[in-house]
């Protein structure tokens, strides 16, 4: 008895060791999932990327040859360029639509709940489903957009929206905005709602007009929310695949092949699994780098409110 009592009174190692074990026990399920579905696949992919790894037949160790090959792979570089273009345009377009929408549905007005729901609705549709829907909408003959333009007399012949790069690119951007903007809007909305109303009132008394309040209060106070929405949007755009695969199958003149699409082609069309794996590792590195930069932006001037 006394021994136990003395031991337990000592703030020593036995207790802290047992609480460390308990901590491990708590995070074990999450750790197991992360290890099983992220760490192990990454390691396997990294291992594969150092091989010439055909789908059938023996794999062969080739060291970093896959990575060297990449540098001179014009198709990979053009896929990177296209993905970059798409990411910039899509992100700007999504924000340009989502921010005004967020400002619109933030105010308490009649039917605001209905507006929020309607604008958010496309988000719950799967991206592949949405792509298929828009393939139909963009169809020359039996679709909606082209025939509508013709009916309205704006064009003479119903245009094939997915036939030229510009029109197809525009169609895909519009589809993605329609699909994603509602989600970004909700994120931005939470940021807007987190701004205390009395700060806005204080600014009104201080004589700040609507635009000045937006510029000097809303934007700075929403920095973190905007950063979050930005990371989600950028990451999503860099990993874009479904819409190009389903809507344009790589697009007119193969100009719409995103990086993920190219990885898919290399791995599962050409069966260069090793090369595909090395491309995946590079893409992962790019995403990590971008996320680090964005997280750093997120922390700039970290202030306690």
């Amino acid at each position: 008895m006394t021994v136990v009592a003395t031991l337990s009174r000592q703030p020593g190692r036995p207790r802290s060791r047992s609480s460390a074990w308990r901590g491990l026990l708590y995070i074990a399920p999450a750790m197991a999932l992360v290890i099983l579905f992220f760490v192990v696949p990454v390691i396997v992919t990294a291992w594969m990327s150092l091989h010439a790894w055909p789908l059938m037949g023996a794999q062969r160790w080739i060291g970093i040859s896959n990575y060297v090959r990449m540098i001179h792979d014009a198709r990979f570089l053009s896929a990177l360029r296209f993905t970059g273009l798409y990411t910039v345009v899509a992100t700007i377009a999504i924000f340009a639509v989502a921010f005004p929408l967020a400002l619109f549905v933030e105010k308490q007005r009649r039917f605001v709940g209905a507006y929020r729901t309607v604008i958010f609705l496309p988000v719950v549709v799967g991206l592949a489903t949405a792509s298929l829907l828009w393939v139909w909408l963009a169809n020359v003959d039996s679709g909606f957009i082209g025939p509508l333009l013709k009916e309205l007399g704006l064009v003479e012949r119903s245009p094939n929206l997915l036939a030229s790069f510009d029109a197809a690119f525009l169609t895909i951007i519009v589809m993605v905005v329609w699909k994603i903007a509602g989600f970004t809007m909700i994120i931005l909305l939470t940021g807007l709602q987190a701004i205390p109303s009395d700060i806005v009132e204080a600014a009104r008394i201080d004589g700040a007009k609507r635009w000045q309040r937006f510029r000097y209060l809303t934007l700075p106070l929403m920095r973190r929310t905007i950063a979050l929405a930005l990371i989600i949007s950028v990451t999503g755009s860099i990993l874009a695949f479904d819409q190009f695969y389903i809507m344009t199958a790589g697009g007119p003149q193969n100009r719409m092949i995103s990086v993920v699409y190219y990885i898919f082609n290399q791995s599962f069309v050409s069966f260069n699994l090793g090369y595909g794996a090395s491309l995946s590792i590079v893409l992962l590195a790019i995403l990590v780098a971008i996320s680090i930069v964005q997280l750093w932006l997120l922390k700039v001037g970290d202030d306690k409110a």
């Binding site: 700060i199 009132e201 008394i205 201080d206 004589g207 000097y216 202030d303 306690k304």
Partner: protein, 387 residues
């Protein structure tokens, strides 16, 4: 306007008997509300308020929560729309003006500082919005922070300040704008008790130095009593009484005001008119003034403050009551005895004598008839001349 200003000393140092003077005064440079109403949909919050606040007066709106005092203040600030009526500041109709054009500045309960700006930028923000020249901004920011002794905080963010410092900055932000009227919306409620007292003194000092009209909303009657030149007691969107703290305390115009102002509250006991006397519990008391006009048996509320009751052991005919002590609160300088009358009504007594009193003791309470306040069943004050 300037004439009105000249008739008053620029700095109001002595307490004007602001209440009655203000209500009658026609051309004041202060704040005038006439027939001001506010409704949210079909729900009326403010039911037609007429009030004149003389220039330079420190006016306190006080009332229980939900009485509309904050809403009224926000209407003066221009943050709430006025459903009906007119608000004038310095004889200028501001009812539909933007908050920034009304010549007001407001201090919020939550301070409402801009969290991403330094104290300096917080103070300068209003001037910056008004495109004030840089040197002027610097001069006024320096002047305001000198008054509030916040110079050493200018480069910090609000998040790095204590509650008291934040409130100083918030007040500084108001001073910088050089408003005609300062509006305070429960500015001390978020501070701890000790800071509250020192900030209260600070605000009083500020009013003495600047001499501006100030309107202050609080539910804390100590703040109301200590700061105010004029107290406006509100209940359910109506003014119950306007007057100096002394008037309100000594001459409440109804039982609500009597019970609301003063701590512990005034004892309001149910009594009956019995001829020329009052029946209270099993005792017959001498009415403080002739009440012959009132029919016997009418209910009357007998009000007396705890500090006006004295504890003794001898009955004085018609001016004393026998009670049983329930329990007591010892506060050092004084002691509150919570007692019961023979019919179960509770009565609180302030007791200063060192002679100990135990729960269960029977004591005799007596008073000077001048301290009795009588109210009719509707709560309205009964006065000698009316009876």
């Amino acid at each position: 306007m300037s004439v009105a200003q000249d008739t008053r000393s620029p700095v109001v140092s002595a307490r004007p008997t602001g209440g009655p003077e203000g209500r009658e005064g026609a051309a004041t440079g202060g704040v005038r509300l006439s027939g001001v109403r506010k409704s949210f949909g079909s729900l009326d919050i403010i039911h037609g308020i007429d009030l004149t606040i003389p220039e330079g007066a420190f006016t306190v709106f006080v009332g229980p929560s939900g009485c509309g005092k904050s809403t009224l203040l926000r209407m003066i600030a221009g943050l709430e729309e006025v459903t009906d009526g007119i608000i004038a500041i310095k004889d200028r109709d501001v009812t539909d003006l933007d908050p920034s054009d009304r010549g007001i500045a407001m201090v919020f309960q939550s301070y409402a500082l801009y969290p991403h700006m330094s104290v300096r930028d917080n103070l300068a923000f209003g001037l910056k919005m008004a495109s004030t020249p840089k040197e002027e901004i610097e001069r006024r920011v320096a002047a305001a922070s000198a008054i509030l002794k916040t110079d050493h905080l200018l480069d910090r963010r609000p998040g790095q300040l204590s509650g008291g410092q934040r409130q100083r900055v918030a007040i500084g932000r108001a001073i910088v704008r050089k408003p005609d009227v300062f509006l305070f919306d429960e500015p001390l409620s978020n501070l701890d008790a000790e800071l509250r007292v020192s900030m209260r003194i600070e605000i009083a000092r500020l009013h003495r130095e600047l001499g501006n009209t100030m309107i202050y909303v609080t539910h804390d009657q100590t703040e109301a009593m200590t700061l105010a030149d004029v107290i406006v007691v509100l209940r359910e969107g109506r003014i119950e009484q306007v007057g100096s703290p002394r008037e309100i305390y000594e001459n409440p115009s109804n039982s609500f005001v009597a019970g609301f102002i003063g701590s512990p509250r005034m004892n309001l006991l149910k009594a009956r008119q019995e001829g020329r006397n009052l029946g209270l519990a099993d005792a017959t008391l001498v009415a403080p003034f002739a009440a012959a006009a009132r029919a016997s048996g009418t209910e009357v509320t007998f009000g007396i403050r705890p500090e006006h009751l004295s504890v003794g052991h001898e009955k004085i005919e018609g001016r004393s009551l026998e009670v049983v002590v329930d329990f007591s609160e010892y506060l050092g300088g004084t002691q509150y005895l919570y007692c019961q009358l023979s019919d179960g009504q509770a009565i609180t007594v302030e007791y200063r004598s060192p002679v100990p009193v135990k729960p269960g003791d029977r004591i005799i309470l007596s008073w000077a008839p001048d301290w009795i306040r009588l109210f009719d069943p509707a709560g309205m004050r009964l006065r000698a001349d009316e009876a």
